[in-house]
């Protein structure tokens, strides 16, 4: 590490701001955990740091915890740096991930040295199998430090690293302070997991940061509060009411939990359902089926809120249609298994209003739904409400244009580009379409409409009409799809509305609706009606009306001139359309993309930025950008819906980040643990680990001091769970191998299949466990099933209280207990171990005879296939998808996996080809599954 001579780094840095330089020098000098406020350029600091090591050469630096795009960026940035500072030693950034690099190549790369981004699972296996000697590592950089918990792989890696290498550097980064503030002494325990002693906090209100960003000219910001339309407000209120009811329902059925936070206010947070899940997790398997559904519903409701503001009226209505179809009860069920919120009046308002934003009946709305054969009704007519932000956007653009014309801006380094930032790719597409078509006028729109705006201002009429046409077409198809998917259900649905009174409802008599009746009259009846069981159902508009509506919005002459809707971002075919654009009159629509936005700003150099949706991190990025370049002027337009969820969410996000930093600063002030954490704690990581990580097994006494530490062979796939890390923590030698049979081999005779409760349930359901037990029994004398409960979840199985009241369930049991009974009856030799947590499992696994790893690997392998076992890994997700296909059994599954590459290939195979592999009957089933057309 010659680069250690600091003060005069031999490399060129690209850190223009004071606080960034301070941070860099701090990092060069000591190991620490950096928590930087979002948007302040974390990755930039990281890449500069990495470059300083890269340029020095002779280093082996590992980057862990980064996600794919960050790795990509680091790679690009390092290449750029190397080119700029022209350092001969720099070798750039290389990736080590699953499929690309094999064992031999990895070994070579490790000895070569360099800067590597590496997947944690591979790194841990390489460290354990001594492919990589930890003492040769110059240093490790951990990104997303907030994800490193005591049992995570990253913590495991750092423990092994620190055990064998006390001199290498170790630096951790995070740009989200929130996770560091939950729990008891969270910062201290995080520091312990990271084997670090010094936290370094950089909130936005840090003096240096504030000075750097506010000292010089600030960016010009113009804020707009856009009012929502009445319909939007109604929908939002309706959804909020649904959320409120759902929450109170949850509270009612789950007493004894800490529920102070469970209110509508916090429900708007991004991760509210995650919070509830975490609180319910300790009792999740005992939570009633209904509560689980409500937790699910909360997620759906939150999505609806989001869609309301981002989607156009037609897309929103379409999304609601899909939700409704997905949550409608299976045909003929008497069970009230629909989501509770669907029974509310508010839900009714929601669906009704959403529909009326799109189209409405012209004359007598009440009669449209009530009496389809009535002659008095006219037809449906389009409403097509526009999002209020669109008009504002058009106005802003116009203003910019005027402004640029009348007061030509001072010449500076920025381009005349206008950058529009919005939430996601979907919104981008919507805005692009709007901007392209806002001046197109359908000539023969409704009379009164064209009378209103003589000025012919921008309007989304063209776009919305096109969307409505697509929607109606889609809806026709959708009806067919649901007809073939839920044939019977659909019949009942039509019976309930169209032919009311004609044919008796196919639905079994539902319990009388206890709720008060929907207010009679036009508004209630025009939209969705109620099904017999009291839940909401969409009234089917009759064919004739839809046809009429379609005719009305047929493309007019002017519309036909426009090119077809752009399905994809044309930038994707950039090679075909390659052309340099003039940067000065460009309008760019871009989604928020985390740290990538910095690149966008740097490259585009916009003079005007329109933030279509609020985003606190992006505001900071603009501040950073503005302060980094004195010679560029930026004007920012910032818009949000007043009184909306969007506004509240933005404000609370800002507040939460600030609070988190305040908490962290307080904790750092009073933190004694980290300062006294001396080398001894690291010297003896087993002890250290036991004492700090879990006090439940504290008094366990010293481990038996044998010359040879006990050894356990662990399947490499098992490294996703926390158990290998804990076994290692108990000074057991973990030998990672690719196992075909079992997850853990404790001795030549003992083989363990580990199942968490969730796995247990699913593998009972798809029959995997039965097969696993079968093969284990073939090869091992003492096969064991380890049922592992989660550390923070309660140590009991699901209750079966509901079954006791239902005599039929006794004769046809389907609960977990009965499946367990069947399993033990089928395999009397299979032993069951019950473990209340991974920590206990680690204890149970001690003191066994030594297994032979090589033998363990070979067991159960299909040696005829002639493949080297070490060369194979399996991907779980596509295999699970295969298992869901009818006709696939555990036996022919293996055949398919050998001969077919992936799901995509299988889906496109001919029936005969599939049949040749897995037999006629199964082949036919598989083919039919993929090819059955739902439109017929």
């Amino acid at each position: 590490m010659q680069a250690e001579n600091d003060g005069l780094p031999p490399v060129k840095l690209s850190l223009p701001l004071r606080y960034q330089q301070d941070l860099f020098h701090e990092l060069r000098q000591e190991d620490e955990l950096v928590i930087l406020a979002r948007g302040l350029g974390l990755l930039r600091v990281v890449t500069n740091l990495l470059h300083s090591y890269d340029a020095a050469g002779e280093n082996l630096v590992l980057v862990i915890g980064a996600d794919d795009r960050e790795l990509e960026w680091i790679g690009e940035a390092l290449a750029e740096h190397a080119a700029i500072s022209n350092s001969p030693m720099a070798r750039g950034f290389r990736l080590i991930n699953t499929d690309l690099v094999n064992v031999g190549q990895r070994e070579k790369m490790y000895t070569e040295g360099g800067i590597y981004g590496i997947t944690s699972r591979i790194l841990v296996v390489d460290l354990l199998s001594s492919l990589l000697d930890p003492s040769t590592v110059t240093g490790i950089i951990v990104l997303h430090a907030e994800r490193v918990i005591a049992t995570s792989l990253e913590a495991f890696i750092l423990r092994i690293y620190r055990q064998h290498n006390k001199n290498g550097f170790l630096k951790a980064f995070s740009d989200s302070p929130e996770p560091f503030t939950t729990g008891f002494a969270p910062l201290a325990s995080m520091m312990r997991n990271l084997f670090l002693r010094k936290p370094s906090l950089w909130p936005r209100f840090h003096v240096t940061v504030a000075e750097a960003l506010e000292g010089r000219k600030k960016a010009e910001v113009i804020e707009f509060e856009v009012p929502m339309t009445d319909a939007m407000r109604d929908i939002q209120n309706a959804v909020l009411e649904c959320v409120e009811v759902s929450i109170s329902e949850l509270k009612k059925s789950n007493t004894g939990l800490e529920m102070d936070d469970w209110n509508v206010d916090s429900a708007l947070h991004k991760n509210f359902d995650a919070i509830i899940r975490r609180q319910l997790d300790p009792v999740w398997h005992r939570v009633s089926w209904k509560s689980k559904q409500i937790v699910n519903d909360l997620g759906v409701l939150r999505t609806i809120l989001h869609c309301l503001l981002t989607y156009d009226a037609v897309a929103f209505n379409r999304y609601l249609d899909t939700i409704l179809a997905a949550s409608s009860p299976p045909p003929g069920s008497t069970r009230q298994n629909q989501s509770p919120w669907l029974f509310l009046d508010a839900a009714h308002t929601l669906f009704d209003t959403a529909k009326r934003r799109v189209y409405t009946a012209k004359v007598n709305a009440a009669e449209v739904a009530n009496n389809a054969n009535s002659t008095s009704l006219d037809s449906l007519s389009p409403v097509l409400e526009e999002q209020p932000k669109w008009a504002l956007l058009a106005e802003i653009l116009e203003e910019i244009e005027r402004d640029a014309y009348f007061n030509p801006p001072p010449r500076d380094d920025s381009n005349g580009t206008i950058l529009i930032m919005c939430g996601d790719e979907g919104t981008c597409r919507q805005l692009r379409e709007y901007l392209q078509t806002m001046h197109v006028r359908p000539e023969d729109v409704e009379k009164q409409e064209s009378d209103d705006d003589e000025e012919r201002g921008p309007s989304a009429a063209f776009m919305m009409r096109r969307a409505l046409r697509n929607y109606l077409n889609w809806k026709r198809d959708f009806a067919k799809v649901s007809a073939s998917l839920f044939a019977e259900n659909q019949k009942a649905l039509e019976g309930a509305t169209d032919r009311q009174g004609g044919t008796p409802s196919l639905r079994p008599k539902a319990p009388p609706n206890k709720r008060r009746r929907v207010r009679g009259g036009s508004s209630a009846a025009s939209g969705p009606g109620r099904a017999a069981n009291g839940s909401i159902q969409l009234a089917q508009d009759t064919e004739a009306h839809v046809a009429g509506l379609l005719a009305e919005i047929q493309p007019t002459g002017a519309e036909k001139l426009q090119k077809e809707e752009i399905a994809a971002d044309p930038l994707i075919d950039i090679d075909d359309w390659f052309e340099m654009y003039e940067m000065n009159d460009l309008l760019i629509v871009h989604p928020y993309d985390g740290d990538m936005d910095e690149h966008v700003l740097e490259e585009v150099k916009p003079r005007y930025v329109i933030m279509y949706e609020p985003d606190s991190a992006f505001i900071r990025r603009i501040e950073v950008y503005r302060s980094s370049h004195t010679d560029r002027n930026v004007r920012v337009y910032f818009m949000y819906y007043g009184g909306s969820v969007e506004e509240q969410r933005y404000l609370s996000a800002v507040r939460r980040e600030k609070d988190s930093f305040t908490k962290l600063i307080k904790e750092r002030a009073g933190m004694s643990v980290t300062l006294t954490l001396d080398a001894h704690g690291i010297d003896d990581p087993q002890e250290h680990f036991l004492r700090t990580v879990n006090t439940r097994i504290a008094g366990g006494g010293r481990l038996a001091a044998t010359a040879q530490p006990p050894r356990v062979v662990v399947d490499t796939r098992e490294f996703r769970s926390s158990l290998p890390s804990l076994l290692h923590g108990r000074s057991i030698v973990v030998v990672p191998c690719q196992l075909t049979v079992g997850d853990y081999i404790l001795s030549p005779n003992i083989c363990v299949e580990r199942k968490s409760i969730r796995d247990l349930i699913s593998s009972f359901n798809n029959g995997r466990l039965y097969n696993q037990a079968e093969t284990m029994l073939q090869h091992y004398k003492n096969p064991m099933l380890l049922i592992e409960f989660d550390q923070n979840k309660s140590f009991t199985l699901e209750p079966f209280a509901d079954l006791l009241h239902n005599p039929s369930a006794i004769s046809n049991p389907s609960d977990l207990q009965s499946k367990l009974v069947l399993l033990t009856l089928a395999f009397p030799r299979l032993k069951v171990i019950w473990s209340s947590s991974p920590y206990q499992t680690a204890e149970i696994f001690e003191n066994q005879e030594e297994p032979d790893p090589i033998k363990a690997v070979q067991i159960g392998l299909d040696l005829e296939s002639g493949q080297d076992p070490s060369d194979q890994t399996f991907n779980q997700t596509p295999q699970d998808m295969l298992r869901a296909i009818p006709g696939i059994t555990e036996k022919n599954l293996n055949r398919l996996i050998l001969d077919v590459a992936n799901v995509h290939e299988l889906a496109n195979m001919e029936e005969e080809d599939i049949s040749r592999l897995i037999g006629k009957e199964a082949g036919r089933q598989v083919w039919r599954f993929f090819n059955r057309s739902l439109f017929d």
Binding site: Y319, A326, S482, I572, I697, N766, N782, T877, V903, H904
Partner: protein
């Protein structure tokens, strides 16, 4: 009480050792008949199945009890259940010990947390005596719609609504599998993350050669 002829015939009832007299779990065996009998185990639940009952509370006071019972049992019966009631909070040590004991003495450990659950286990072992394990062998046959939903929702974060959206937009599962990412992202509710997960799931190889 009415006497039903044939109901008390030997093999169809659970045999209970007299030493279990007064055990509250017997009150929870309701759906099947049981009778006292002189047997080495606590319960006989079928031709080759027996069970010993142990309460952890009792085990802590008399740790030797269970071993003497296991000794008495010898090597009789094919499936030997050690039905253990977890009625103490510090169960880790005892369970660790019992796990090892069960391995050495060929017992199958089954935990229960209440008398009702214990009773239910007894009933289940008896009533499932001759049941074929079909319900745990393979996935249960379900309707096409359920299968489709199950198939599509395998990748993380894709839910039922999304599954329905997929097949309704593309018309068949095959078309959904073949869909390009741009087409997918046009659907409501399909954000970038979901689109990415789905396309990588269908194009990811089953078996990776490294």
């Amino acid at each position: 009480p009415q006497v039903i002829p044939g109901a008390r015939s030997g093999p169809s009832s659970i045999l209970v050792s007299p030493r279990q007299k007064g055990n509250p779990i017997l009150n929870n065996v309701r759906s099947l008949p049981w009778e006292y009998s002189d047997i080495p185990a606590d319960y006989v639940l079928g031709g080759t199945t027996c069970a010993l009952f142990l309460s952890l509370k009792y085990h802590r006071l008399h740790p030797e009890y269970v071993y003497s019972r296991i000794r008495q049992l010898g090597h009789k019966y094919n499936l030997r259940i050690l039905l253990t009631m977890v009625d103490i909070t510090n169960h880790e040590e005892s369970l660790k010990e019992l796990s090892k004991t069960s391995l050495v003495n060929d017992l199958t450990l089954i935990l229960c947390w209440s008398a009702a659950e214990a009773g239910r286990y007894l009933e289940l072992f008896k009533s499932c005596e001759h049941t074929a394990p079909t319900s745990i062998r393979a996935a249960q046959a379900t309707s096409y719609a359920d299968k489709v939903v199950e198939f599509v929702t395998v990748p993380r974060s894709i839910n039922k609504t999304d599954a329905l959206g997929l097949v309704s937009s593309f018309g068949s599962v095959r078309a959904g599998v073949n869909a390009r990412p741009e087409e997918l992202s046009l659907m409501a509710g399909w954000g970038e993350a979901k689109v990415q997960r789905w396309t990588s799931a269908v194009r990811e190889n089953f078996r990776v050669k490294r």
